[in-house]
């Protein structure tokens, strides 16, 4: 593949907030050429797919395999409901197509294993969308790799999204039915808070846990072996009604005697002036780091500023471009992507173990 010809990209279902396909499209080496999905999907899925296709002035085909073949696709972007992520990724890989997939990798670790097998058998590249190439995280990596703090001993990530997810916990009146997960997620599409869209309810640990766990994995280079977790629905009626967490804490035991922790939650829009508090605390043998993932940022305040507008805006971050640059290089050279299928699977397994620990109250080995 000549570097002068962009990779032809198929978007395989784009039912939730479209930041991943937009991110792919933002890089000059990738060109969206078709949107595709299975014909038997419900109308609301087809509507959203068609709308995205119209936005890019590209066709929408209700046949995934046909689209992959007909449009000479080299890359697939998977942005469906989480429960279909792996199936679409496997089918793309089996068609010889490289894959960029939205998070979470899957709702089941066994599905992740299918992706690994398909990707490795086909010899294609796979990347989970992630935040590892944000300036603050890269700065932490640079300092750690330079030996500035010596050998790693502990790493902690706080990952709080200051977003709402419908009415507060305890607000449901007697006699009112529980909030339906899928319908609530479909309604959240309007403000992009629909990362959990699908029939299967998912808590914050499952939906967003990949981000901080990917930081930890990249910065330490280590596998998580055992976890102890607490999970709860603390903020939102939606999560309480559907038995999933909107707040979780996980203690991590990793290789080389390194430990860590993760605090994650959808803590409500009132709890931070911006997207939320995302912070890394790293302890080494010769020093320690406190890193705010949001920096560099600029504070902007003005009269009649909408309350929903972030007061601090991140600057100097080109995450989408860097991720797709990494992916392009992986395709060109065969080098691993920044978050490949095996890493995605390891993170999914850590999340599963944490959820089990939250249920049992015991430490759980990561399998």
């Amino acid at each position: 593949m000549s570097q002068s010809n962009p990779f032809r990209v198929a978007v395989l279902s784009v039912v939730k907030h479209a930041y991943v396909p937009h991110g792919v499209a933002s890089h000059p080496r990738f060109e969206l050429v078709v949107v595709a999905d299975d014909a038997d999907q419900p109308d609301w899925v087809h509507e959203r797919n068609q709308k995205f296709a119209d936005e890019y002035n590209i066709p929408y085909v209700r046949d995934v395999e046909q689209a992959l073949a007909q449009y000479d696709v080299q890359v697939a972007v998977v942005s469906s409901e989480a429960e279909r992520h792996c199936d679409l990724a496997v089918r793309a890989a089996q068609a010889g197509v490289h894959v960029v997939q939205d998070k979470p990798m899957s709702t089941r670790v066994s599905e992740c294993d299918r992706v690994i097998e398909a990707v490795e058998q086909a010899g294609v590249q796979f990347m989970m969308w992630n935040r590892n190439l944000l300036p603050g995280v890269l700065h932490a990596q640079e300092l750690i790799d330079e030996g500035t703090i010596g050998a790693l001993r502990a790493i902690h990530v706080d990952f709080y999204f200051a977003k709402d997810a419908g009415p507060s916990k305890g607000s449901r009146a007697e006699g009112e039915p529980p909030i339906n997960w899928l319908e609530a997620q479909k309604a959240a599409h309007s403000d992009g808070s629909d990362g959990g869209v699908g029939h299967e309810p998912m808590g914050e640990l499952k939906i967003e846990g990949i981000y901080p766990l990917a930081y930890i994995r990249m910065l330490t280079g280590l596998e998580v072996r055992r976890v102890f977790a607490r999970t709860t629905a603390h903020f939102h009626q939606l999560h309480a009604d559907n038995g999933v967490d909107d707040l979780a804490t996980v203690s991590l035991e990793m290789d080389d005697n390194v430990v860590g922790s993760l605090c994650i939650g959808r803590i409500g829009a009132a709890s931070h002036p911006d997207i939320g508090e995302i912070k890394l605390h790293v302890i080494g043998s010769d020093g320690s780091l406190v890193i705010s993932e949001a920096r560099p940022e600029v504070a902007i305040y003005y009269r009649d500023q909408p309350s929903a507008e972030f007061r601090h805006q991140r600057v100097g971050a080109d995450l989408s471009h860097l991720l797709m640059e990494n992916f392009a290089r992986a395709i060109d050279t065969g080098s691993p992507t920044v978050l490949d299928a095996r890493a995605g699977r390891a993170i999914a397994a850590t999340v599963e173990a944490a959820l089990e620990s939250g249920r049992t109250g015991k430490p759980v080995e990561v399998v």
């Binding site: 903020f235 605090c263 803590i267 508090e277 705010s292």
Partner: protein
């Protein structure tokens, strides 16, 4: 005027310098330390009339010259000295943990009640202006129900005492903010050389609340670091030293320095002790509070480390899960 005897000179100087200019109704009248020269030096600075090197001398020969005692002593001796002070009718402010065992802590509390003297456990962190502001926002209802407490504290190596007993301040903060004993406790410790210098404590509370404590004693010599975040159902408070640093440029990378507030936690705590004495009421950190923290430490944190298991509160005691 509440007349106070300080037990333990070195700690006293650091924590009570300037007390007379801040607390008009409190006077430091005596300093006791095994090193008489140290006792005299500190007494001089604090304008105390009496410096002695024996606790017995204070009680036997000067009992009518003070009303209350602030006890800094190693853990095995603390409770014994506190008990003798209480038996002599003196109010006591004692470092945490207040005793080497829960039973001794219970005895102390009962003795203080029987003698009708005030027993207060020292946790100056509760009076630190930033943490007091977090608590106030919680008590005012601004944060709703507490869901997650995240604490980091890093400092340079200390040369005495078990690592896990140094986290009583974080355990007390968690107990104070959640207003209950944790229902689950899970701990991990790590060592750089022979002795552990890193501790991670994971707490669960009834109703789903949780806390994570990261305590490290391995920072290079220099300023310590601490940070506390309390996430509640309605709002979140961030008492984060990362935000509260100033920059000093002297070439190369700038130094990040913390600006100390003018209010001092130790003096605010002493003021509360004095108020409790005057008002004849239970102090804000009582013997029962000290007992609770000791129970978390001895029945949950220690055993969780030893057994490599989570501990669960069942029927008033912690059992392995």
């Amino acid at each position: 005027m509440t007349r106070i005897a300080l037990i333990g000179a070195t700690e006293a100087l650091d924590r009570f310098a300037g007390v007379t200019s801040h607390l008009a109704e409190v006077a430091i009248v005596a300093v006791v330390d095994g090193d008489l020269d140290s006792a005299r030096t500190v007494a001089d600075v604090l304008k105390a009339d009496l410096a002695v090197n024996l606790f017995d001398t204070l009680l036997d020969e000067h009992c009518d010259q003070f009303d209350a005692m602030v006890i800094h002593a190693s853990i095995p001796y603390r409770a014994e000295r506190a008990r003798r002070a209480i038996d002599a009718g003196k109010h006591v402010l004692i470092d945490s943990p207040l005793a080497p065992s829960i039973a001794e802590a219970q005895e102390l509390t009962k003795a203080a009640d029987s003698a009708d003297v005030r027993l207060m456990v020292s946790q100056p962190t509760r009076f630190a202006p930033d943490y007091a502001a977090v608590k106030k926002s919680l008590d005012d209802g601004k944060l709703g129900t507490p869901g997650l407490l995240r604490m980091h504290r890093w400092e340079s190596p200390r040369d005495a005492g078990s690592l896990w007993k140094r986290v009583t301040r974080e355990l007390d903060l968690a107990y104070w903010l959640f207003q209950s004993l944790p229902s689950e406790v899970y701990c991990m410790a790590r060592s750089k050389d022979e002795e552990p210098d890193y501790l991670q404590i994971h707490l669960g509370f009834a109703g789903g609340g949780m806390a994570l404590i990261d305590y490290c004693q391995a920072l290079p010599e220099g300023q310590p670091y601490e940070s506390l975040t309390l996430v509640g159902s309605r709002g979140t408070a961030y008492a984060d030293q990362h935000h509260n640093t100033q920059l000093l440029f002297q070439g190369d990378y700038p130094l990040a320095m913390r600006t100390a507030g003018s209010q001092r936690a130790d003096l605010l705590q002493l003021a509360e002790f004095d108020s409790a004495i005057r008002e004849h009421r239970t102090p804000s950190i009582s013997g029962a509070d000290g007992q609770a923290v000791l129970q978390i430490l001895l029945e949950a944190v220690g055993p969780s480390l030893d057994l490599d298991k989570a501990m669960r509160l069942q029927g008033g005691s912690y059992e392995p899960v």
